[in-house]
């Protein structure tokens, strides 16, 4: 029985500013290869990168602020949803992710499921 997990990717952007086009391409190709391996094994469910900047809405829509303006390392830059047996399996899978190459992090969260509430 597979469970879905969410990977939230944070950071890694600051160091990219000094990267050369060649290094950026190499990094991109690593992501491509990793995602392809996830797709081929049926692990990958969904995922997209996010643009920086946005709005934060609170208090019934009365407060709308620009943001999130957290430190570079805390801003969510993208997400993936994967199939895994359990949290430790999902953790193992995440270790192949190229996000770590430039100091980024991956937060792993189990997606709630009606049939999996024991």
């Amino acid at each position: 029985m597979m469970t879905k997990f969410l990977y939230l990717f944070r950071g890694g952007d600051a160091k990219r500013l000094d990267q050369s086009p060649e290094e950026m391409q190499a990094h991109m190709q690593k992501w491509g290869a990793w995602m392809q391996s996830l797709a081929q094994s049926g692990t990958l469910v969904d995922g997209l990168p996010l643009n920086t900047g946005g709005k934060v809405v609170a208090s019934d829509g009365e407060t709308v602020t620009d943001g999130p303006f957290a430190e570079g390392t805390e801003v969510v830059g993208g997400y993936l949803i994967v199939n895994a047996k359990d949290l430790s399996h999902a953790t193992e899978i995440s270790k192949g992710c190229p996000i770590f190459e430039y100091g980024g992090t991956c937060e792993i969260r189990e997606v709630m499921n009606m049939g999996n509430m024991d």
């Binding site: 952007d13 990219r16 500013l17 000094d18 990267q19 050369s20 086009p21 060649e22 290094e23 950026m24 391409q25 990094h27 991109m28 992501w31 491509g32 990793w34 995602m35 995922g47 997209l48 990168p49 830059g77 993208g78």
Partner: protein, 417 residues
């Protein structure tokens, strides 16, 4: 350096980002002027970042180059709007259609314009070299530092200085005409040769960045040769020269990273594809009667590569070429290298006598002492050879060359004892 053989210089996927970087920089700088160089650089970097994040998820778009260009241009317009809130920008005029993007002639010409701008007469050769590598070649400061044997911080500072000159002294990016073109072209060819020589310097271990620099110089040479206003004997002779030398790129360093002289190289390891390109461009360049220094330097390479082995090199012919070269380019390197040839044709004593005449002027030259040591070795005067080898070592910064010298010193020391 496989790209050259297949002649897919411009669309090579291995260097897609690096090459597109230069193309987009060229396109945007010719529209927005050099004063915006920092904004343009940020815009291109941003487009590459977006591609880096999005393409692994959604796949590479069909026309990846046009996609990158569009994203960079939008980013550029956004930054300009943010900078001058009240100014209405004419956005539409700057849109490049898919069709235009397919037209590689226009894009290659834009790249050449940027090369010309980098080699503007108000900018020094050294700065032209840095600007060409950074803006056209798409090399980072760290990569340029590695290639030029500079610390990253030092490379960054030099590039910053070059860029501020570029901003202030160059202004618009355009295709020069007539007399002006001639003036620029001389400089451009010289800078391309400088880039090549920097890349060709012996370096330690897997010297990918050096290979890339040589590749970039050849790419620029091909760009020039593909343009009817720029193509000519100098460009073709330079291409020939670079290809001949590139043929020996790997053969001149052995498996443990030591530098090998022409005599000690395995000639079978020379890259035959490059040799053929060398001959091809040499023939193109030789259609003109008067010989430029590039043609003469290519001719020297031509004679090396026409021989079937070291023992068959026609030193007499090479000597003749050197004498012609000396009339045009009375440089230290040419003079000293000529004496090595003279040693082959007139004997060691004669060459050593001629060399010693240059002593005063060349005392601080590593090459001078290295050649002198070589002559003494040939005369079996090993104690004198050692003196000059040690002087050479003191004057050499390049680690690979130092290793090579230490080897020679060891050998000579053994012969004394």
């Amino acid at each position: 350096m496989g790209f050259f053989m297949e002649r897919t210089v411009y669309e090579n996927i291995d260097h897609l980002f690096r090459h597109q970087y230069g193309r987009i920089m060229a396109g945007l700088l010719s529209r927005f002027g050099t004063k915006n160089v920092n904004l343009v650089e940020d815009a291109v970097q941003d487009a590459l970042l977006k591609a880096m994040k999005l393409w692994p998820h959604q796949g590479q778009p069909d026309n990846a180059a046009a996609w990158l260009y569009k994203v960079a241009q939008n980013q550029m317009l956004d930054s300009l709007k943010r900078q001058s809130k009240s100014t209405v920008l004419e956005v539409n005029k700057m849109e490049l259609t898919e069709q235009e993007y397919q037209d590689s002639t226009q894009l290659n010409d834009e790249q050449l314009q940027l090369v010309f701008a980098c080699c503007h007469p108000n900018i020094s050769d050294k700065e032209s070299l840095l600007l060409s590598l950074k803006l056209v070649g798409g090399f980072s400061s760290a990569e340029i530092g590695r290639a030029l044997l500079l610390k990253e911080e030092a490379a960054k500072k030099s590039i910053q200085r070059a860029k501020s000159n570029f901003k202030e002294k160059v202004g618009s990016v355009y295709f020069p005409k007539g007399k002006e073109l001639e003036l620029y072209l001389n400089r451009v060819v010289r800078v391309v040769y400088l880039i090549f020589n920097e890349g060709y310097k012996p370096s330690k271990g897997a010297s990918l960045i050096n290979e890339d620099l040589c590749g970039e110089a050849i790419r620029l040479g091909l760009l020039l040769n593909d343009n009817k206003h720029c193509s000519g004997k100098d460009v073709q002779a330079l291409l020939s020269l670079m290809c001949f030398k590139c043929a020996r790129f790997e053969a001149r360093i052995n498996s443990i990273g030591e530098l090998l002289t022409l005599e000690n190289q395995d000639w079978k390891k020379w890259n035959q594809q490059y040799v053929q390109w060398g001959f091809y461009y040499f023939n193109l360049a030789s259609r003109s009667q008067e010989a430029s220094s590039y043609q003469l330097e290519a001719a020297i390479e031509f004679y090396y590569h026409s021989a079937t082995g070291y023992d068959f090199i026609d030193w007499e012919k090479i000597g003749e070429v050197y004498r012609l070269l000396l009339l045009q380019k009375d440089s230290m390197n040419v003079k000293l290298n000529y004496l090595v040839v003279l040693e082959k044709t007139r004997g060691t004593d004669f060459a050593l006598h001629e060399l010693t005449k240059l002593e005063g002027a060349f005392e601080g030259s590593a090459l001078y002492h290295s050649i002198k040591a070589f002559f003494y070795e040939n005369k079996k005067e090993f104690d004198l050879a050692l003196v000059h080898l040690e002087k050479t070592l003191l004057l050499t910064d390049n680690e690979v060359e130092q290793g090579f010298l230490k080897q020679r010193i060891q050998k000579v020391t053994k012969l004394i004892a």
